[in-house]
């Protein structure tokens, strides 16, 4: 087990170095428009003295590979520079926002699990029924819906129209987390964020379930006279779940990394919206630091997911794959 974990961590190192290398390359003068010193001072006037000071402070006058070394060691020590506008450390700003992003991510994952699994199971068990057609159609459509538009439609329907219809008695909140944060504010953003993945979960669940239901051991179980319910839930579901859980695990990593569109539509104060606002205000340290943090979150969550599989399924430890 320890060997597997070690191997998995070692595999992460080249990817991490590659990611930092790409982000570092984006700042090399001449490769892309923009002067790194100007990026650091932002809109302030740039005097030669200030330029020299900044070049010395950020090691910009050293050779590129030395600069890269400073850059990576800074990241490893949790130093992502400081915000141009807010005068705070980027690390602190992102740490502040992370719990909000995690809150939304967990809510969305719950929607995915409950709605996605149920829809997939029902449509597989009642294949070709009305429900199956409904699930198949709505999952195809959901995959093509732009997330931010879905968010806007939900706001319009449950935030605005609902209030008109009920004479102001009932509506769902359309933005922010509430003060203090409450569960009602989570409903619309969580549904929006979960929408596309829920469709995928339902699709994968359906196809896996259909495959499992065709297996010999299911026929045996039925032949033994077990009830339909026991066969479906104890025998078929258990095996059909593995790929679904893999998908949900990977998705959790992506959601934890912040959802720029959903967070922007619902003014949800998470990492995604912070990065978006930073792009708009040209606060580059937050943008670049945010990207690094997000990539690290995705990598770490994927690592944890993989490790938990290896604990559950010994085959993976010995070079097999989760699927």
């Amino acid at each position: 087990m320890a060997k597997y974990v070690l191997r998995r961590i070692l595999q992460m190192i080249p990817v991490f170095l590659g990611v930092t290398l790409i982000l570092f390359a984006l700042r090399i003068p001449g490769l892309l428009p923009g002067d790194p010193v100007q990026l650091i001072v932002g809109e302030r006037p740039l005097t030669p003295a200030l330029r020299a000071e900044i070049e010395a402070k950020h090691h910009l006058n050293e050779p590129l590979h030395i600069q890269y070394g400073y850059y990576v060691s800074g990241i490893l020590q949790g130093d992502l520079g400081s915000s141009l506008q807010k005068g705070r450390d980027v690390t602190d700003i992102l740490l502040d926002k992370f719990p909000n992003t995690a809150r939304l991510a967990i809510a969305a994952i719950l929607v995915e699990i409950v709605v996605g699994l149920l829809a997939g199971i029902i449509s597989a068990v009642k294949q070709y029924s009305f429900w199956d057609v409904l699930v198949t159609l709505s999952t195809s459509v959901l995959v093509a819906v732009p997330v931010f538009w879905l968010g806007m439609l939900l706001q319009m329907l449950f935030g605005i129209k609902m209030r008109e219809w009920t004479g102001g008695a009932f509506s769902l909140p359309m933005s922010g987390m509430g003060d203090p944060p409450d569960l009602v504010h989570l409903i619309l953003p969580a549904i929006t964020l979960a929408s596309v993945s829920t469709a995928y979960v339902a699709r994968i669940m359906r196809s896996q379930m259909l495959e499992a239901m065709g297996q010999d051991y299911i026929r045996t179980a039925k032949a033994k006279g077990l009830s339909e319910r026991v066969v479906i839930f104890k025998h078929a579901l258990k095996n059909a779940l593995i790929p679904v859980v893999t998908f949900i695990g990977i998705d959790l990593g992506m959601l934890m990394a912040g959802a720029i569109l959903t967070e922007t539509v619902f003014s949800w104060p998470g990492i995604g919206r912070e990065i978006y606002l930073a792009v708009m205000t040209r606060d580059w340290p937050i943008v670049m630091g945010g990207v690094i943090v997000v990539v690290l979150i995705v990598m770490v969550v994927n690592l944890l997911v993989d490790i938990s599989y290896a604990i559950l399924d010994p085959r993976i430890r010995y070079g097999g794959k989760a699927e």
Binding site: V15, G18, P146, W149, M152, I260, V295
Partner: protein, 325 residues
């Protein structure tokens, strides 16, 4: 120039796909299938002909195709009829926020522009970005995928590890970071989306090359002294290209959504050029007085993307491509 043209271009001259169309295949069929005498008289069809036969039976895929053709025709001919019967997409001469009427089927926006003509012209941007972005992805992906699939070894490891690095970034975030540096605008949008798309194409192509490469006709070609380039272009590529067509079609839908999202965030196509995503960001503050501003551009995105997805699904079944869901 478009992805589709490239595909048919790659497919047509190669003819039958079964190991270069040797008569062997027909003899096998006759031996195995009873009543194959009739089949022998059937005009011989290429893989592409077969695929078209199967595609035609798929109602959803045909619906998608019809919608794509409809939208493309609408946009290409827009200059002929939109200004005559409706309004220039950038003209602001109408009353602000009029609800839909005969004169303005989708209403007008905050500064009095006709929403219908903006939606029609918006399709131009979306389709162009979609096709151009996917063409870039396919061009890079074909090069990288064939290098890594055909030569293997260190080259393969290098390309695939680079692809891993690209996959480590959440897609939207990478696009935003790239655009933050490149600056907003129509060109940068399709360049950014195109650059981000190549690793998937390269992976798909690599795995199909790996399976095609093992065929005997490739060994035969090599034994006859064919050059790597010739083997690649004449023998491997035509047989490995089907998954790229499927994936490319679906990717156009993905690129259209991404463009809309980027324009919604203000990093994509810039006003006054009509773009569905940007129209939605203008609609955000006007949901109560003017819901039509939110409904129509979004509906246009949804139907167009859906058309490409359905078309891609249909092509996958018709070309019998196996893909991970």
């Amino acid at each position: 120039m478009s992805a589709d043209k490239r595909h048919t271009g790659a497919g047509t001259p190669t003819g039958p796909m079964d190991a270069g169309g040797h008569p062997v295949a027909d003899e096998q069929v006759r031996a195995v299938v009873p009543g194959a005498g009739e089949m022998a008289q059937r005009p011989s069809r290429t893989l592409w002909g077969d695929a078209w036969m199967r595609l035609r039976k798929n109602k959803l895929a045909i619906a998608g195709l019809v919608w794509i053709v409809f939208v493309v025709t609408l946009t290409l001919t827009a200059d002929l009829w939109v200004p005559r019967y409706f309004a220039e997409p950038t003209s602001t001469q109408f009353g602000s926020l009029q609800s839909p009427s005969l004169e303005h089927p989708f209403g007008t926006d905050r500064i009095g522009r006709d929403v219908f003509s903006r939606v029609v012209y918006g399709a131009r941007v979306s389709l162009a970005v979609g096709v151009l972005a996917v063409s870039i992805s396919i061009a890079i992906g074909l090069l990288m995928g064939s290098l890594s699939g055909y030569y293997g070894g260190i080259l393969d490891a290098l390309v695939m590890r680079t692809a891993d690095i690209f996959f480590a970034f959440p897609y939207m975030l990478f696009a935003i970071a790239l655009l933050a540096l490149l600056g907003p605008g129509y060109q940068n949008v399709f360049i950014a989306i195109g650059i981000l798309g190549w690793p998937s194409i390269a992976r798909v192509l690599r795995s199909s090359i790996l399976s095609v490469k093992e065929n005997e006709y490739v060994d035969a070609a090599r034994a006859m002294g064919a050059s790597d380039l010739r083997i690649m272009l004449r023998h491997i590529m035509p047989n490995a290209i089907a998954p790229i067509i499927v994936y490319g079609t679906m990717s156009i839908g993905g690129a259209i959504i991404t463009e809309a999202a980027l324009s919604y965030l203000g990093m994509g196509v810039q006003p006054p050029t009509p773009s569905w995503g940007h129209m939605l960001s203008e609609a955000k503050a006007l949901m109560i007085p003017a819901p039509w501003l939110t409904v129509w551009p979004g509906f246009a995105i949804l139907t167009t993307v859906l058309a490409f997805v359905l078309m891609g699904d249909g092509l996958r079944d018709a070309l019998d491509v196996k893909m991970k869901d």
